[in-house]
């Protein structure tokens, strides 16, 4: 019998955002099934740290290491990552979970293979790894996992990586909790309160909604709710006269009670190749309206719902799609069912074996 692969999973942090949440789901599945032996090395902390520690060996960068890395670069993480690699009885497969973790993961020399699990698209990718640093890292990397077709296109078409080295893997989504409470609000937005996730555009779309948002209102779930961007979003809400009807909820341990019982997920991210929240909505049969800025559009097209995808930046176009969904209960149910079917392969138990195969390089 083939031995379970040994994987050193290097993640930039343990926040509740998409990529760390997907890595946590993968580690949970591996611990439950014994399909892989995983050691997690975090380059920064976050609320998922304790979950990861409960699943298996996990090391977290100290504050001093984080500061040193900020000043001196990813080599600051190397000694700890080297120790983590030595904890395996044979050289592990080193997986960089996101481009932010890639340069640090590449410093581990005792390895069977280096795999980069890419969750970013062009603009953020260029910020995290400057184009002039990229070629050396690409050469050092054995294979790439692309979090969705848009990322795979970036890797192959714009970064020039051979298609044989790129495997597209779906986000790993935990199954919905049965019987969870639902929200009366009609429109949900969710994601970190950072510009890339587009909470300000969420407000713009709601401000252009015709007919206007009803008294049940809308909510944006995610934090931090005390940063500069949150102030800008609040200012937009006030200017649009929506401050009484749109609730900025802040960070929460689970989205479960915020899913609308009879409403829509509005996903106006500026750039989001594989939004976990959209897959989670789909599995709950919550209809989604979005635009062409990443993986949400891919999922809607796969579900036969391309009519709910507006061109990027078309606020009125997105508001019109949202208004049509809100006005038509039959359409909401049909779209919800189609999305649930399309997202089913992303359930952890179905997607994680494919992800592990891609990590091992099985074709």
């Amino acid at each position: 019998m083939r031995a379970a692969p040994q994987v050193l999973l290097v993640s930039h942090d343990a926040s509740r955002t998409g990529a760390p949440a997907v890595a946590t789901s993968f580690a949970r599945w591996a611990a439950r099934t014994g399909a892989a032996q995983i050691h997690v090395a975090l380059l920064g902390g976050g609320p998922l740290t304790s979950t990861l520690r409960a699943l298996g060996p996990t090391t977290v960068a100290s504050r001093a290491e984080v500061e040193l890395a900020r000043a001196a670069g990813p080599r600051a993480h190397a000694p700890r990552l080297r120790r983590a690699a030595r904890s395996f009885d044979r050289p592990p497969i080193v997986v960089a979970n996101t481009l932010a973790a890639w340069p640090a993961a590449a410093t581990v020399e005792r390895r069977d293979a280096l795999v980069c699990w890419v969750h970013e698209l062009d603009r953020l990718a260029d910020v995290l790894v400057a184009p002039d640093q990229r070629s050396a890292l690409i050469a050092a990397t054995d294979r790439f996992l692309a979090a969705g077709p848009a990322v795979a296109r970036m890797l192959v078409e714009r970064w020039g990586i051979a298609p044989a080295r790129v495997a597209t893997v779906p986000p790993l989504v935990e199954p919905p909790a049965p019987g969870a409470p639902r929200s009366e609000r009609r429109v949900l937005g969710a994601g970190a309160l950072v510009p890339r996730k587009g909470a300000d555009l969420f407000v713009s779309v709601l401000a252009s909604l015709d007919p206007p948002l009803t008294a049940e209102g809308a909510a944006w779930v995610g934090g931090p709710d005390d940063g500069a961007y949150a102030t800008q979003v609040r200012s937009d809400l006030r200017r649009a006269g929506l401050d009484g009807r749109v609730h900025l909820v802040g960070p929460v341990p689970t989205l479960e009670p915020w899913w609308p019982a009879d409403g829509v997920l509005l996903h106006p991210a500026r750039e989001d190749p594989a939004p976990l929240v959209v897959a989670e909505a789909a599995l709950r049969a919550v209809p989604v309206a979005t635009w062409t800025t990443g993986g949400a559009a891919d999922l809607l097209r796969d579900a036969g719902c391309a009519h709910l995808v507006a061109p990027a930046g078309d606020v009125v176009g997105l508001a019109e799609r949202l208004a049509r969904l809100l006005a038509d209960a039959d359409e909401r149910r049909a779209v919800g069912r189609a999305l649930a079917d399309a997202a089913a392969p992303q359930l952890v138990d179905r997607a994680a074996p494919r992800t592990l195969a891609a990590i091992r390089g099985d074709r």
Partner: protein
Amino acid sequence: MSGPVVWILAPPLGAGGAPTMLVRYLRWLRSPAGCADGTVPEVHVVAGADGTSAAEVTRLAESTTLLGPAEGRSVAGTVAAAGAQLGHEAAAAAVWQRWARRRVRHLPRPDVVVVHGAGAWPLWRAVAPRCGRARLVLHLHELSVAIGRSVPASERWSLAAEPDAIAAPCRPDAGLRALLGARADEVVVVPECAEPPTPNDLQADARLVVGIGEAGWRKGTDRFEALAHELARRRPEVACQWIGAPPPPGWALADDDAGPVHWDGWHPDPWARVPPRAVVVVPSREDPLPLVAIEAARRGHAVVASGDGGLADLLDEGRGWFVASADVRDLADAAEAALDEAATTGLRAARLRAHADAHLAPEAVGPRWLALITGRPAPPVDPEPGR
């Protein structure tokens, strides 16, 4: 006859509105009109960092002290930032403040200190012990959200409490009133200004909608893009162009190169790229009195605008189109009106130009600025603040 010693504390001397205005005030001050009464202030500029406006400021001021490089941080800035990251904010701030005080110790003691924009308030906090009993003037160039980014919450009370005089380019809006409390009623309106335009030789184009500025939330670039989509549906023959630096990381839309906006990038003189009769849209969210609107006015462009601040007053009385609503369709209605109604558009643009020439030229604004910093009575002005 020499006038008072004035320190102007300025934000980084980049290409933004506040440094540009500093250059314009200083240019006016060095002009024959600025020297008219013979008591010209001795102006020393202390700026947060170097930048594209620094050379001109250095030429115009008695001295210029730059506390950081155009890119990155000074050594003291790096030490302070690292200290703050490690949770020692107060000690880190003290290190940087001590260093900043050493950098200004060669300057003559000021009679007046002007904090030119809220971004320079941390400089005041640093150099205040060197300033004795100098008269303190806070000249805001921002509204409340931008002020909140420059001045920590624990410090905001001091914006109203410490200055001897407070000025802003427009009447205080609700956010500024909340910030300044009772002192909001004392705010002196000193508008921004624009110098006479240099005509370009482009062919007139009344089917073009132009936006200008550093892309991002404050300038409302996303609202411009949304407007362009709406106009593409209603008026496919209309072109939309944005001139300005690309947005900071995280603010750019994926796939927007495929959209209806022609992104023209940053140009040192954006107006060299704007043909006569193009409609200028200023979709700002929060901008007290955008220079783009004043410059467009002086060039005779029709202006369509939205946002908090002085734009509503600027475009009032049939001088343009101001949209209070956040619904993009309303902005598109106004832009369509400016594109379609040639006679009305021409009339509004002419009124706006006449207004700007009379009230928003350096020769009109300069004396008000000088009165602000010297504390002398201001010359008679338009009774409507911000207009």
